[in-house]
């Protein structure tokens, strides 16, 4: 017993030393490298800081004003842009976790080179999501009561708890990847994957279990959330890998190119699946209750029609799908552009999901004057600035990550590991 303890202690000490060695030891170099880079690097960095700065200004004044004044939320539509931005970020994070696990957890070789960067960006995006969410909660410190008096029947509670565990294991996985300890990295990755999928489907269930709201209620939401997360993860991996190589002024090597092609293929598959999802959402909604039909009509020819049909479906799914198929996943730049379109589409997908669910007032069915119309909502400048700030945080953290973990992110040197050993 004592021996194993000692061995463990030595192991941990080794781990700490090698983190020191690989990362912290070269602190000066790191700082130098943070300040060196090409035009794209500095452009993105300055943009990132400006975004965070603006978000900070607007966020602080929103806190001072009170959220009721600052945000465009109402009693009938208490969730708005901030919630959908939060969902967008955690969807992307979960998707990155799922897609990266294909390689370094389940041992599919083509997916291995993207793993380390994907895990890092996954941690970054979930932090961005949490920071946006912080500005939606009026009393975030009261979250201590989720430990003191937890409500185990609440999906929000489970989502929080599971995302907490997910974050811990993602960070562990990343540390192990840096240490080149692939076996514990794969185990942490598997655990993170399980927590991530549970957490994310719970986020879907936050909507899916609101039985007073026809548009959301049912098992569709958790499933749809996971499916769209994978598409989101694919797009994010392509974007961040492409950018990573760009800002380091390097050419994407053969192995990474192959990996990105595989990611592109998976993305195309997920687009097809999601189009299938959307089609059945619309068709089933058209024969439902009047409330649900009204919600669906708002997506087809109402106020969310442009968002849904043009941005979410055409720009976010159909055009990228055509680009991917036409280029046969070979052209890295086109793959990147397709991914940008997909990410934009997914952002609007989140927004539509949150807003269309609230567009019909819950008391619409009792035919009273007060609730005869649809609920309108427009995000205020405060909500927009804070959401953009979340993106800014993600960009800055990603850029610094690219500089600090330059070595580990390179597929051919580090990303591919003899995983056949891991699962023996």
């Amino acid at each position: 017993m004592a021996k194993t303890k000692k061995a463990k202690a030595i192991y941990i000490w080794d781990a700490v030393r090698s983190i020191n060695g690989s990362v912290l030891h070269n602190l000066h170099e790191d700082i130098d490298s943070l300040l060196s880079g090409g035009k794209i690097y500095f452009f993105l960095l300055i943009m990132g800081f400006l975004m965070v700065y603006a978000a900070g200004m607007f966020g602080v004044s929103a806190v001072n004003m009170g959220y009721r004044e600052a945000y465009g939320l109402t009693r009938e539509a208490p969730w708005g842009l901030l919630i959908s931005t939060y969902i967008f970020f955690v969807v992307t994070s979960t998707g990155l976790c799922i897609v990266s696990s294909i390689g370094h957890v389940f041992g599919v070789k083509q997916f291995m080179p993207i793993a380390t960067r994907a895990v890092f960006v996954s941690i970054v995006t979930i932090f961005a999501g949490f920071s946006v969410m912080l500005f939606d909660l009026d009393e975030p410190f009261h979250m201590i009561y989720s430990i003191i008096t937890p409500n185990l029947s609440s999906n929000i509670w489970w989502m929080g708890a599971l995302y907490g565990a997910y974050l811990v294991f993602m960070i562990l996985e990343f540390i192990f990847l840096l240490l080149k300890r692939h076996k514990p990295a794969a185990y942490s990755g598997l655990t993170a994957l399980i927590f991530g999928i549970s957490a994310h489907s719970n986020l879907g269930a936050v909507f899916g279990m609101l039985h007073g709201r026809d548009f959301w209620y049912g098992p569709y939401m958790p499933i749809y959330f996971i499916a769209s997360a994978i598409m989101s993860g694919c797009a994010a991996i392509v974007i961040f890998t492409w950018l990573g190589y760009k800002i380091n002024n390097e050419k994407i090597d053969k192995q990474m190119e192959k990996a990105l092609q595989s990611v592109g293929k998976l993305a195309a598959l997920m687009i097809a699946i999601l189009i299938f999802f959307e089609i059945w959402k619309v068709i089933t909604g058209l024969v439902g209750s009047e409330d649900k039909r009204l919600a669906i009509f708002s997506m087809l020819n109402g106020r969310y029609a442009f968002n849904f049909l043009v941005i979410e479906i055409l720009i976010g799914m159909i055009i990228p799908f055509i680009i991917l198929i036409k280029t046969r996943f070979m052209n890295m730049n086109k793959l990147f552009y397709a991914s940008i379109l997909m990410i934009i589409g997914i952002f609007f997908m989140r927004y539509d999901l949150v807003m269309v669910g609230q567009v019909v007032p819950v008391l619409h069915g009792i035919n009273v004057e007060e609730f005869s119309g649809l609920v309108s909502y427009a995000p205020t400048i405060y909500e927009i600035a804070i959401s953009i700030g979340g993106l800014g945080i993600a960009i800055i953290a990603f850029l610094f990550g690219e500089k600090v973990f330059k070595g580990p992110f390179k597929g051919h040197k580090f990303g591919i590991h003899p995983l056949d050993e891991v699962w023996k």
Binding site: E139, I156, H211, G365, I366, V368
Partner: protein
């Protein structure tokens, strides 16, 4: 007694109004008897709380004077941007006779409250003794999931309290201090709001909810929340003044 004309009017409305079912002998063809009692058999036989607080709204007595809302605002410090109780208005231009109807709304104090299930920190809870859906204001994180979950739009965010606020039948401000009625029921000049206790078979509300001659309904029964606020109409000649 319901006159023939009124019955016809009822039938017309009853068929067009979603979420409200109209019962009674003549109309039983188009309605569901279970819904007349506003709850399922098993629920009706057993009221889990003592006292099982309830409110019966005699809808046709409401004249939209707004006294209930004023009393509520005063008693519970409700800010101008929110409400705990309100009066909704229905207008049916094809209705025979009166074309306007007022529907007082408040928290339904559901027996199966979606808001309580949704809250991550148990800031809102079903009071074990009285069945009132109450708030621990100090716990609320402001995630607003309960507002999304409520099928009756009964909740709002109160900036001053930094928490969600809702009707609690005036438990904090009146009932817990020995008063018998919520402010709205006391203020109503036409006695449209009758406050009562379903665990007591001699209670007026119990007797009205458990008869079959006159329709009693709840709002949005399809959601399965089992509300404790019932709606009915009241005949003027019946002297059931409180």
């Amino acid at each position: 007694m319901i006159t023939r004309m009124e019955r016809r009017e009822f039938l017309k409305l009853g068929l067009t109004i979603t979420g409200v079912s109209v019962g009674g002998g003549f109309l039983s063809v188009v309605s569901n008897f279970k819904k007349v009692f506003a709850s399922t058999e098993e629920y009706r036989k057993k009221y889990p709380y003592k006292p099982h607080y309830t409110m019966l709204i005699r809808q046709n007595r409401c004249i939209d004077c707004g006294e209930c809302m004023k009393a509520c605002v005063k008693t519970n410090n409700v800010p101008g941007y929110g409400y705990r109780t309100t009066i909704l208005e229905r207008y049916e231009k094809n209705a025979i006779g009166s074309k306007r109807e007022f529907i007082p709304m408040l928290c339904m104090q559901c027996n199966n409250p979606p808001c309580v299930r949704a809250c991550p920190v148990e800031a809102t809870y079903k009071d074990k003794k009285t069945g009132i859906v109450r708030m621990h204001y100090e716990k609320c994180i402001g995630c607003k999931t309960c507002m999304e979950a409520c099928p009756y739009d009964a909740r709002y965010f109160n900036d001053e309290r930094h928490a969600i606020d809702k009707c609690d039948f005036c438990f904090d401000t009146r009932l817990s201090k020995g008063m018998k009625l919520p402010a709205c029921a006391e203020a109503c000049p036409t006695k449209a709001r009758v406050f009562g206790d379903l665990s007591n078979p001699n209670d007026e509300v119990f007797r009205i909810v458990h008869q079959m001659q006159k329709a009693v309904w709840v709002l949005r029964p399809e959601v399965g929340t089992k509300p404790n606020v019932f709606y009915t109409t009241s005949d003027r000649e019946v002297s059931d003044e409180k």
